[in-house]
C-alpha cells in the first residue's frame, strides 16, 4: 500500500510546498524557486506513471524485452529545458521590477503602488 502510492503522495507534498512558497513568501525570487519545486513535482508525477515494474530504461538491447514507457520521458525532457528558459524570463522580469521599485519584496512593491495611487 505504502509503496503503491508513495510516489504520488510525495509528489503532492512537493507540489503543496511549492504552492505554499508561492502564495506565502513575499520575496519574488523565492516565489520563482517555489515554482521550480512545483514544476519538478509534476515532472516526477509523469515519470512515475511511466515506470513499469521490472522494466529498464527505454534504450533497446537484444537481451531485454520489458522497458519503461518512453512517452513521458520525451515530454519531460523538453519541459525541463523549456522550464529553465521560462525561469530565466521570470528572473528578467524580476530584474526590471527591482530597477523600477528598488526592491523584490511584494509588500514593499504594493506599498509603493498604493502611495502612487493616492498621489
Amino acid at each position: 500500500m505504502l509503496a503503491d502510492y508513495y510516489n504520488y503522495w510525495v509528489v503532492i507534498i512537493l507540489m503543496m510546498i511549492g504552492f505554499y512558497i508561492v502564495i506565502s513568501d513575499a520575496n519574488l525570487i523565492k516565489k520563482i524557486i517555489g515554482l521550480t519545486i512545483f514544476q519538478t513535482s509534476v515532472f516526477i508525477l509523469f515519470i512515475s506513471m511511466g515506470k513499469v515494474d521490472g522494466g529498464t530504461a527505454p534504450i533497446l538491447v537484444d537481451t531485454l524485452t520489458v522497458y519503461s514507457n518512453p512517452l513521458p520521458h520525451v515530454l519531460i525532457l523538453t519541459a525541463i529545458v523549456v522550464g529553465v528558459a521560462t525561469t530565466a524570463l521570470g528572473l528578467a522580469i524580476i530584474a526590471r521590477i527591482h530597477r523600477a521599485y528598488g526592491s523584490v519584496d511584494e509588500n514593499v512593491i504594493h506599498a509603493q503602488d498604493e502611495k502612487q495611487e493616492k498621489a
Binding site: T56, A57, I59, V61
Partner: protein, 89 residues
C-alpha cells in the same frame, strides 16, 4: 554488496542534507553541496550496476565534469558581487 554501498551513500546524503540545512555559514552549505555532488555521482554509478545496465555512466561523468561550475559561481558572486567581472590585476 552493491546494496550496502548504496544504502551507505543514501545515509551520507541524509547527513549532508542536514549539514546544508544547519549551515551555519554559507561556506558550510557550499561544502555540503559540493560533497553531495560526489555522493550523487557514486549513487548513479552504483545504480547502474544494481539494475545490471551499467551503461549510464555518462550521467555520472557529466556530474564529475560540471558539478563544480555552480560552486565556483557562488564563490565568485560572494567575492566579487558579480558573475562576469574580470579579475583585478
Amino acid at each position: 554488496m552493491f546494496i550496502s554501498a548504496t544504502i551507505a551513500i543514501l545515509v551520507v546524503m541524509l547527513i549532508l542534507l542536514l549539514r546544508a540545512a544547519l549551515g551555519p555559514t554559507v561556506f558550510d552549505r557550499i561544502l555540503a553541496i559540493n560533497t553531495f555532488g560526489t555522493a550523487t555521482v557514486l549513487l548513479i554509478a552504483l545504480f547502474g550496476f544494481l539494475t545490471k545496465r551499467p551503461d549510464f555512466m555518462d550521467i555520472a561523468l557529466l556530474y564529475a565534469l560540471i558539478n563544480f561550475t555552480s560552486t565556483i559561481a557562488v564563490l565568485k558572486l560572494f567575492r566579487y558581487g558579480s558573475l562576469g567581472k574580470a579579475e583585478d590585476e
